[in-house]
């Protein structure tokens, strides 16, 4: 059972928004959907949910077109948060719940549970506009999952949350996954994705540049990362002299280098030992998602960095 996005193409006038977008998310998986603004994430999600029809391609859940599944199958948290600002929090949650077929009393009980869990039970009767942005966002998340959907799509769910609330949301994600729910969310916070997602899809200009289980995507880069710290002086100098090694992150505690595909990371260790000093730290790892992203897509351009800055700060 999986959510399969297969060859989606969509044009808006002369602009090709999606160009053969293909990836899949296994049931019970958390998939990170990564891409710059305007890469096609929102359009893809809207097609998955059936708001838009693709010009070609298909989206299936358990081998059936997503449009054919009942609406309660889906939970959606749009990119732009949307709440009825002048309506009390509990009332609008009940309203959203009833739209998905919950009875009013059931929706009310579930909403109260979620509000308590997110530590905003006191705000139940307050109008949404009187809540802080972070709290509004938690309400938005509750509206997304209140009806217990099987597949949950979220556009930038972590934006604007402080570390404590981000941790609450992460916990909720993991719990939903453990209950067999399937999550797909877009994010700019690549470390967040790396921590949570068992699979990722990186999209750029309407095309998926890479997709699959997070570990495989990271391995697919070919090169590896070595973090090393020694007592040898002039560490940077001799590291730079090694073949197939590039210093990517000279740090105070350790230095991070990139070892080209095909080269042996252990050669760095051997070279360190050969220099005669003590090796204080030696670690071989796959490149981070951020490195993969930069390799594949290029750095987010300056404007988007500025826009994304407050979001990246956890």
């Amino acid at each position: 059972m999986a959510l399969v996005v297969d060859g989606l193409t969509k044009d808006f006038g002369s602009v090709r928004a999606l160009d053969g977008v293909t990836f899949s998310v296994q049931r019970g998986g958390i998939c990170g959907f990564l891409g710059a603004n305007g890469a096609g994430k929102t359009t893809t999600m809207r097609i998955v949910l059936g708001f838009l029809r693709p010009d070609s391609g298909s989206v299936t859940w358990d081998d059936r077109e997503t449009r054919e599944w009942p609406r309660r199958t889906w939970g959606y948290m749009p990119e732009e948060r949307g709440l009825y600002l002048r309506m009390p929090v509990i009332d609008q949650l009940v309203f959203f719940g009833t739209l998905y077929g919950l009875t009013r009393s059931r929706a009310r009980a579930l909403a109260a549970e979620w509000l308590a869990r997110f530590r905003i039970a006191d705000y139940a009767d307050r109008k949404a506009e009187s809540l802080s942005k972070g709290n509004q966002q938690k309400v938005q998340f509750i509206a997304t999952v209140l009806h217990d959907p099987d597949v949950i799509l979220m556009d930038e769910p972590f934006v604007g949350l402080d570390p404590i609330n981000a941790a609450l949301l992460r916990e909720a994600f993991l719990e939903l996954r453990d209950r067999g729910k399937t999550l797909l969310f877009s994010t700019h916070q690549l470390d967040q994705a790396e921590e949570l997602c068992d699979s990722v899809a990186i999209i750029d200009h309407g095309r998926v540049v890479t997709a699959g289980p997070t570990r495989e995507v990271k391995r697919s880069a070919g090169h590896q990362v070595v973090r090393v710290a020694t007592s040898v002086p002039d560490e940077l100098v001799w590291l730079r002299s090694l073949p197939h090694v590039t210093v990517t992150h000279p740090g105070r505690d350790y230095t991070e280098v990139r070892v080209d595909a095909g080269a042996d990371p252990q050669s760095v260790l051997r070279a360190a030992v050969a220099r005669g000093g003590d090796v204080l730290r030696f670690e071989v790892a796959d490149p981070s998602l951020e490195q993969i992203f930069v390799d594949r897509v290029g750095a987010l351009d300056v404007e988007e960095r500025t826009l994304a800055a407050p979001e990246v700060r956890p």
Binding site: F51, L52, R71, Y76, R81, G82, L85, M87, D91
Partner: protein, 441 residues
Amino acid sequence: MSGLANVAAVARREYMVRVTTRSYVFGTVVLLVGVLAIAFAPVIIRAIDQSSQQRIAVHVAATDLAGDPAATLSGLLNAATDTGTPASDRKPDFVVTPVPDLAEARQAVVAGEYAAALEIGRATGGELGFTLYTNDSATGRTAGLIRQATTAIAVSDRLARLGVAPAGQAGLFAPAAFGVEWPDPAKSGPTRGTTEAIGQDMLGFGMTLLIFMMVILYGQWVAASVVEEKSSRVMEVVLNAATPFQLLTGKVLGVGALALTQYGALLLAGVAALLAQGVVAGIVLGDTGGSAPLPQGLTVELLLLFGLYGILGFLLFAVLYAAAGSLVSRQEDVNAIVMPMTVFATFGYLVGVYAAMGLLDIKAAWMVALAQVPLVSPYMMLGRVTTGEAMVWEVPVSVALLVAAIVGALWLAARIYAAGVLMYGQRPSARAIWRLVRSGT
């Protein structure tokens, strides 16, 4: 989750949220005050009338008059303004006081104690002469009534001088037999009184105005509500749960229920006020008469037609208003985008009212045809019915056309809505809208 349940949930939310808003409550209160003012207008007018009593001073210089001219004048003046209430139950409009000294009386008029002073003298030829001293208009209502009364006194005086005894004069002044009949020989029954005729025209006019107001006010509300959901981006959240058709229908029905609530309250208040009018009149005016019947021509059939055209007209326009609202994403743009509907509504309203008032030829063939056009018929048919110009087939055919138009508009609007609600920041051109309608997404 059935579609109907979602329509109901959307309508319920729309209703519950808006019924307590300040603008709705305030608007309803203002309209209620208006309805009560109109319903109690007869009592209010009589109360004002009663308080406006005029004092007239009479100085009689002629010594040989047959009767008491002050009493005669008082009788004539007050009879002329009698509105049908028994004279014993009401205070007279004019109080006529004989004064011995003309100069003093004129001074009193200047001081405002009297509205006017009337001098009755006799010229050398024997004819009576009258002079009115007043600051008011020489051709005003009071002067006019006094002039009429003086003529009667003069005639009576001439007759007395010709030797006709006052008792014999009564027969001379008795009114002649005078009848009014319908011009159509086939038509029998009493002809319409003035109030009756005005009452019926006013009913048609008032009901048309109410429908027009409902469409403009609540149609605009539907559009604004759609835009509000778009601008707060809540649209995408609800769009995942409900289809555009359900959202559109629920919204129109929810706002429609608000309109019905308001109009129901107004209707109840109006009827209650009319029924209570006799009692209130008794308290305010201190009389027991003046029972107020419901306005002439206000039949159950007419009320039902009003409800029918009001609801159908509202539905047709509201659906279009909703579709228009879905095309813009900012409240500032609502007025511009709903302009076509507003123009249609105003056009229909004006033509309907002009026709009912006789400013346009209501019998013309193009008028009959226009009255069948769905966007216009809600404003034209009531006028045609109350003036009695509607032919038997007109009402059923126009209603059928309206219903068909609503179905068509729903189909069209749902397609525009489905695409429009996800459209942000684009200026919708006619071609773009047409593309949306054809493609469906």
